[in-house]
């Protein structure tokens, strides 16, 4: 019964999202919705490894960047059709992740966190130097640039990512991943091949981050390649997941809606860059006082007023 209601609600929301561009022409609203969808993909991808598997990866920007760069390159310069280019970006990202995953998972706890953070920064610096100039879309594409197809691509991959996380969460893979988060040694001792499941979670997570990168590559008219690897992609995703509700499926969605809206508002009314400060404080407050995030808060409030 509850299951059926949830399904109907989700279908309703998706239907409304599909119809919106037909009635709303304001580009700021479509941009807001697009960014929300993009961040849903990115946050869901981080949550697979960081939330469900308990491996906090602070180098997520690297995977967003590899996906974005690959997709944009093969789309613009090799003429791949867009869907194939985005998919290719995701696959290249997952392949790259598996290569660094073997050494990275030799590190545990805080060392894994530091290792991934450093790896992403190194990549950012390398790409900043290799491609010092901004990558701009060709004039032919810019002349016909339209937000609506970007929005629909974002919507498609956001829906796919939520469905994928939902499926993983209910499967044996999800069970193995969560057991690692709970207690890695105990997981190994009950028969979970922890390295295999960490690598699997890493591959799924980075594949989705690569897709998010590809969606962004399709959206952005011009970008410095180094910026695709900027730490902000990591930390935005982390903040969204924690504010929304870490290790849940709805959390990253709620978090993304809230985060993008707040970011737009704050950058309107606060002097440049100050919104980062607000998010920093917000993150600390959530981690300290609201470990369940907004999802946990809603569940608490629903229980109390009775």
């Amino acid at each position: 019964m509850i299951h059926w209601k949830k399904g109907a609600l989700s279908a309703g929301i998706v239907l409304i999202l599909v119809l919106i561009p037909l009635f709303v022409q304001r580009s700021d609203i479509i941009t807001y919705l697009f960014l929300t969808l993009l961040y849903i993909i990115l946050a869901q991808s981080w949550n697979i490894l960081g939330g469900f598997t308990g491996q906090q990866n602070l180098g997520h920007a690297a995977f967003f960047g590899v996906g974005a760069l690959t997709a944009r390159y093969i789309w613009l310069h090799y003429g791949f059709p867009l869907p194939l280019a985005i998919l290719g970006g995701g696959l290249a990202t997952a392949a790259f992740a598996l290569i660094i995953g073997f050494p990275a998972f030799r590190l545990r706890g805080v060392y894994f966190i530091i290792g991934t953070l450093v790896m992403a920064e190194i990549l950012r610096m390398v790409f900043d130097n290799v491609f010092p100039r901004a990558d701009v879309m060709p004039m032919k594409l810019l002349a016909t640039y339209n937000l609506a197809p970007r929005y629909y691509v974002g919507l498609l991959f956001a829906v796919l990512s939520v469905v994928a996380v939902y499926w993983v969460n209910r499967s044996r893979i999800g069970l193995g991943m969560m057991s690692i988060r709970e207690d890695e040694d105990a997981a190994e001792a009950t028969g979970v091949n922890t390295l295999k499941y960490k690598l699997l979670a890493f591959a799924i997570s980075t594949f989705m981050a690569g897709l998010a990168g590809g969606v962004f590559a399709y959206y952005t008219a011009a970008t410095k390649v180094g910026d695709l690897f900027a730490p902000v992609w990591t930390f935005d995703a982390v903040i969204i997941v924690f504010v929304g509700g870490v290790g849940t499926i709805v959390g990253p969605i709620v978090g993304a809606v809230f985060f993008v809206l707040l970011k737009q508002l704050l950058s309107l009314y606060l002097p440049g860059g100050m919104h980062v400060l607000v998010f920093g404080v917000l993150f600390i407050v959530v981690v300290l006082y609201l470990p369940g995030g907004l999802i946990g808060l809603m569940a608490k409030l629903r229980k109390k007023p009775a």
Binding site: R172, L175, G176, M178, S179, R181, E182, D183, D185, A186, A187, E188, A189, T190, G191, V192, N193, T194
Partner: protein, 248 residues
């Protein structure tokens, strides 16, 4: 009791631990420990706190690696396999701290017990079996395991181990921190599990209870096996009585 036989007719035990040395960091914890468990047998490891009993079962489970010696289960070298593979081969450890996944429900914990492909195939039957053994777990299957009482958590730990369809179950201090009435229950359950054909290697500080349950036992002192044999004989041994039963 019939023992296995390899191709050349050499008889072997289900579990053979052969002269293992184990180090914790730089400190040697075990010296040339050897022990055997046969199919369907209950064997107990007794000894004082810190004698190395837990180290022995953790090494058999491949959570620790011996620096010398070897461990064979049905002829397969366990000390060369990763811990998750040892479970697949039919050896399951219930660790001292129970090793539950505290944030997950009882049901999820049990499902993780049947994680290996072979045990997953028969998990419906296993669920029936463990719910019959511990009816309270069926009533609480949706409860978060970290919120259960100590006795119930021990039941989840045993039930989860059974879900993996072990041939050898190693219980490390199953009575620890539990009320006497519950301890009695747990020991009865262990006996029933053994009667269904599962070999048991029991680590226990409650020497009287352990020797009452097990047919044979090994006495571990300072990382070495210092005595072994039939429980009855050990119970009568003056040295054992003096050291562990306080009735010299």
């Amino acid at each position: 009791m019939a023992r296995g036989q390899d191709a050349s007719g050499w008889r072997f035990w289900m579990l053979e631990v052969n002269k293992i040395d184990v180090f914790h960091g730089g400190l040697q914890a075990l010296w040339e420990v050897s022990l055997n468990v046969d199919e369907g047998e209950i064997v107990s490891l007794i000894g004082a706190n810190g004698a190395g009993k837990s180290t022995i079962v953790e090494t058999i489970a491949s959570l620790l690696a011996p620096t010398s010696g070897d461990i064979r289960f049905e002829g397969v070298r366990l000390d060369r396999e990763p811990a998750h593979k040892v479970v697949t081969l039919g050896v399951c450890l219930i660790p001292e701290e129970r090793g539950l996944f505290p944030g997950m429900s009882v049901l999820e914990n049990l499902e993780l017990g049947a994680f290996t492909p072979a045990s997953r195939k028969v998990r419906e039957i296993s669920f029936k079996l463990v719910y019959e053994l511990f009816p309270v777990l069926e009533a609480r299957k949706n409860q978060i395991s970290g919120t259960l009482s100590g006795g119930e958590q021990q039941m989840v730990a045993i039930a989860r181990a059974l879900m993996s369809k072990p041939k050898l179950l190693m219980c490390d201090e199953p009575s620890q921190g539990l009320a006497p009435i519950i301890v009695k229950n747990i020991f009865e359950v262990i006996k029933r599990i053994n009667e269904s054909g599962v070999g048991i290697l029991l680590v226990e500080q409650n020497v009287r209870a352990a020797l009452g349950l097990a047919k044979r036992a090994y006495v571990i002192e300072n990382g070495r096996v210092t005595a072994q044999g039939e429980s009855k004989r050990l119970l009568a041994d003056e040295r054992v009585r003096e050291a562990y039963l306080g009735t010299g």
